[in-house]
Symmetry: C2
Subunit: 212 residues, 2 copies
DNA sequence: ATATATTTTGACATAATAGTAACAATGGTA
DNA sequence: TACCATTGTTACTATTATGTCAAAATATAT
């Protein structure tokens, strides 16, 4: 079972977008949709939608299209939703706190169950309903709790070491906000969010636009 | 002048990474580097580095490689750095505050000069050294200040309207953290940061990994 | 109820794009 | 001067996206 072929990063980027648009369609009461109508809405080609979805199975029906609810649920399953994913955040600074407050994650099954910092001033502080713990307590916490995802929200000087502690204690998914590349082994998945790079891409595209 | 061919998004994603790695090399005192050595460091092919850089000009020298400082500065120029980019943040919630506190942006010339919110409880609050203003004052602020980038850090219900206000008042670059697609005209550049989608990609890749 | 037209998928063929390899040209180095 | 390292460029390969169409299901007409 499972997909026969490798899934390209381009497809991986589109999957959550399909999911989001299908969710919006459900909210507006749409029950079925053709690849063509979805393509108009999402500004991609219908062919691409059909091809993307067929990596995972034939969810549509000739002459009818796709049942919005079914497709939404199927893509949810493909994305690994529909179960609880526990997260710990390393770093209780502004970014860590913002992540902890973000409501959307919980709606999708991503539960933040621990926050850690090395700064005495942060330890003991309550962020929402979770208390910031001493980073020294992280290994013990990981052993006692089923943590899937470790979010790295600290400066890069400490980031690698903390990522290694996470991995040593069984965490296989790293959500990395620090400005460095983490190579933690073939079985560890790293998803990078680098806001400075994002700003630079924006700036680059603006610079290009001006030249035209 | 300017690049002859369209620059692919793949290249746009790599440019800030080149910049980051070159910065790190400068910090460690490295003066010159070959595409091969850089390729080992960055885990891409040397061929790709040479091809990427040659979109913008021949910065290297046969038999020598690239001068790290020169290349760093050239890529900086290409990315539109080396000048001040003023930003306003719409939304002074946790995410907006985290962005405002983030120090790295300023180091790269991205200056946050205004924050806006519609919530009475936020208005007047000081985030670092800037005061949160009433969102009603945004159009006037945009007319009086040279704002290049508008960051959207509010829920999607209000996001489109606020983005339109930014664009109507001359902002051509939108940094969008809201969970919707903004289509604001051909000359408006939108850079999306969708943290929920980022988590879903992580979750998807983890689900794939388990199947193997 | 049945036949016919229409819609739309899934699969495959084709086109476009992106990445890698190869190598002549060229400046640095011994 | 001769050799070596390494680029910039071109050719090639791989990947990704798009177009096409038979097959299948729905919708419509009779």
């Amino acid at each position: 079972m499972g997909p026969k072929k490798r899934i390209s990063t381009a497809v991986i980027h589109r999957l959550p977008k399909y999911y989001r648009h299908l969710g919006e369609l459900i909210d507006t009461g749409v029950q079925r949709i053709s690849s063509r109508d979805l393509s108009l809405r999402m500004r991609v080609t219908a062919s691409q939608i059909r091809q993307d979805l067929n990596h995972f199975g034939g969810f549509g029906q000739q002459g009818y299209g796709y049942n919005v609810n079914t497709l939404y649920n199927e893509i949810g399953k493909i994305l690994g939703l529909g179960k609880i994913h526990n997260i710990v955040i390393v770093g209780a600074g502004n970014l860590g706190q913002a992540l902890a407050h973000y409501q959307y994650f919980r709606h999708r099954g991503f539960h933040i169950i621990g926050m850690f910092d090395k700064d005495e001033a942060q330890i003991g502080k309550k962020i929402g309903d979770i208390e910031v713990m001493d980073v020294d307590a992280l290994p013990a916490f990981l052993k006692e709790n089923n943590v899937e995802i470790g979010a790295i929200a600290i400066p890069k000087s400490e980031a690698r070491r903390m990522a290694e502690i996470l991995v040593e204690n069984g965490v296989k998914q790293i959500w990395n906000f620090a400005h460095l590349d983490l190579h933690l082994g073939d079985d560890v998945i790293v998803e990078n969010v680098n806001l400075t790079e994002s700003l630079m891409r924006l700036s680059f595209r603006a610079a290009l636009e001006k030249k035209k």
